[in-house]
């Protein structure tokens, strides 16, 4: 199924003294959805946040190994790599919808303005397609200047996706994007991910295994900071190779 968009090679991560990730080798296939599953605290978010150098914001974080971003093959977690440059190439959506206390329009425009050097008209031209890709345009097109905080939770989360898409990221990271939403809003987000997956590479953390089977092409099972098993979603869920994976999938722990 296509080329690799990114690839973790022997990735280690430390929070201070505590090693949260151990030698992760994980391929991220291009224009496909990769789901990260595993019990709470196994390192899913930690892995995701390595991919856009989010850990750099906090003291005591230490990376080891590599996360290569293709086509150029730059090592995202390399010491000499500018984290801001990496974050500009990669989008992220968080567990809790976190729109800025600004208008809907300004939320979507935020990343473009951060890049600088864009004319007003260029920004305006990018806002509409981003909202359309996030399946939010019809609901907000008449109130782009209203505060984003007036939207419902599901709308806010789709706005966060639009905000991330506006800058045309090469890779989209989603950390349990539906865990704070009701079932209807969750279905909306899942539909959106399915619509996006042929156009953009997505890595999604989820604790909901049904969700992983519904929306992902590839699944990685993490346990205690290690990658236990990786494979095509269907195969991994139907015929897991490792005993731990099977135990988790059948609900025997986690």
């Amino acid at each position: 199924m296509g080329d690799l968009k990114a690839e973790a090679i022997g990735l280690d991560f430390h929070y201070g003294e505590f090693q949260a990730l151990h030698a992760i080798d994980l391929p991220i296939h291009e224009n496909a959805v990769t789901a990260l599953i595993g019990p709470s605290g196994c390192g899913k978010s930690t892995f995701l946040r390595c991919c856009n150098r989010m850990h750099d914001l906090y003291d005591g974080s230490r990376y080891g190994g590599e996360v290569k971003l293709y086509p150029d093959g730059v090592n995202i977690v390399g010491d000499d790599v500018d984290p801001i440059e990496m974050r500009m190439r990669i989008g992220m959506v968080f567990q809790k919808p976190n729109p800025f206390p600004k208008s809907i329009y300004d939320n979507v425009a935020f990343g473009l303005r951060t890049r600088g050097g864009l004319a007003r008209s260029e920004i305006a031209d990018a806002v509409e397609p981003a909202l359309k890709s996030a399946a939010l345009w019809d609901e907000v097109k008449d109130r782009l200047q209203e505060s984003a905080w007036k939207l419902s939770g599901g709308q806010q989360q789709r706005l966060c996706i639009a905000r991330a898409l506006a800058t045309g990221p090469e890779l989209l990271l989603l950390d349990e994007p539906t865990s704070a939403l009701d079932p209807i809003a969750t279905a909306g987000i899942e539909e959106l991910i399915l619509a996006l997956r042929k156009r953009i590479t997505i890595v999604i953390v989820t604790h909901n295994m049904q969700q992983a089977t519904r929306i992902s092409d590839w699944t990685a099972f993490f346990y205690l900071g290690r990658l236990v098993e990786f494979g095509a979603t269907k195969q991994l869920f139907v015929k897991p190779e490792k005993a731990e994976t099977e135990a988790y999938l059948t609900g025997r722990f986690g």
């Binding site: 019990p39 709470s40 605290g41 196994c42 978010s45 856009n52 989010m54 914001l57 801001i84 440059e85 974050r87 500009m88 990669i90 989008g91 992220m92 968080f94 809790k96 976190n98 729109p99 800025f100 206390p101 600004k102 935020f110 990343g111 303005r113 951060t114 890049r115 905080w149 966060c160 905000r163 991330a164 800058t167 205690l224 722990f253 986690g254």
Partner: protein, 321 residues
């Protein structure tokens, strides 16, 4: 980030033994009573502030009523002269109001930019250790006695201004105490704004960082707007402090009521006038003496407006998250 770990607990939490608490136990009645008494005492202490506020208002209003029997409210609000000691006395509050607003305005012009910048620095940039060093110094600014600030304005800032900026500046002027009031209220503006900034959830900052924003962009484009109502509350608090400031202006502004918009001129503020009369030898009950209550009431109403504004704004920013 939520620190969650697959923790398995064995057994049950150990309790503190049997918890018999029968009402029949001797001493229970006594404890009930002593708790009621303590509670009543606490309530009394809490109510005392309300009582004192009401008492102050009562004095101000009743004496002001006596004043306004002689001087009409219209004259009080529109007359452009405040000359309480002349035979043909005039009681227009405007000159005092102008002096008050001018000195507070100068003060805010100093305190807002500096207070806000230091709040942004402390909340968004300073390492915890730097913060621990800087904060006590900031707070110390608020602890310096105002008399000291007054003489600082008169004997240091005014000569400095005369030497470097305005050679013709009179020895008494509004500008110099205004600047010093500004320094004095920096800690109020900065600590209230900093609280508002620190209350901005980390998720908002992370969202901006994740888009490739720099620290300055996050501070200016995300944290500041998100903390805006708290910052506005800080301004209102600073303003109410500045308006009520007495000693600095009494010492360094000259005590001449002067309807002017030029801060380089000497002028009196409402507060400076009140101390001047209260410490002077006007006979109690005279109209000049009563005038300080009318002036005091005006001041209290102004301060009230700023405090209510601050309170409303702060409530709004608490509700935001």
């Amino acid at each position: 980030m939520v620190a969650e770990a697959p923790v398995v607990t064995h057994g049950s939490p150990s309790g503190g033994g049997p918890r018999g608490r029968g009402l029949s136990r001797p001493g229970a009645r006594l404890r009930w009573w002593s708790e009621r008494v303590i509670e009543a005492g606490l309530l009394l202490a809490a109510l005392s502030s309300i009582g004192i506020t009401i008492a102050i208002l009562y004095v101000l209003v009743s004496e002001s009523v006596a004043f306004f029997r002689v001087v009409s409210i219209v004259d009080f609000l529109t007359d452009t002269m405040w000359m309480p000691l002349f035979d043909d006395a005039r009681f227009g509050i405007l000159p005092l109001l102008a002096g008050t607003l001018l000195s507070s305005g100068v003060g805010l012009a100093v305190a807002v930019p500096i207070g806000l910048t230091s709040a942004l620095y402390l909340s968004e940039f300073a390492a915890p250790r730097t913060r621990e060093i800087i904060k006590p110094f900031l707070e110390m600014l608020a602890g310096v006695p105002t008399v000291v600030y007054g003489y600082f304005a008169l004997l240091f800032v005014t000569p400095l201004l005369q030497r470097w900026l305005f050679p013709d500046l009179p020895g008494f002027n509004i500008l110099s105490p205004g600047l010093v009031i500004g320094i004095m209220i920096i800690p109020y503006v900065s600590s209230v704004s900093e609280d508002a900034m620190r209350a901005v959830p980390m998720e908002l900052r992370e969202a901006a960082f994740a888009m490739g924003a720099t620290r300055v962009e996050v501070a200016v484009r995300v944290v500041l707007p998100a903390a805006l109502s708290g910052v506005a509350a800080a301004f209102a608090l600073g303003m109410s402090r500045a308006v009520g400031e007495t000693m600095v202006v009494a010492i360094a502004a000259g005590q001449q009521p002067n309807l002017t918009l030029d801060p380089r001129e000497p002028a009196a503020t409402i507060t400076a006038y009140i101390v001047q009369v209260a410490l002077g030898d006007l006979p109690h009950g005279s109209i000049g003496y009563l005038s300080i209550f009318a002036a005091g009431l005006t001041l209290m109403l102004m301060t009230l407006v700023f405090n209510v504004a601050a309170w409303l704004l702060r409530r709004r920013f608490r509700e935001a998250y």
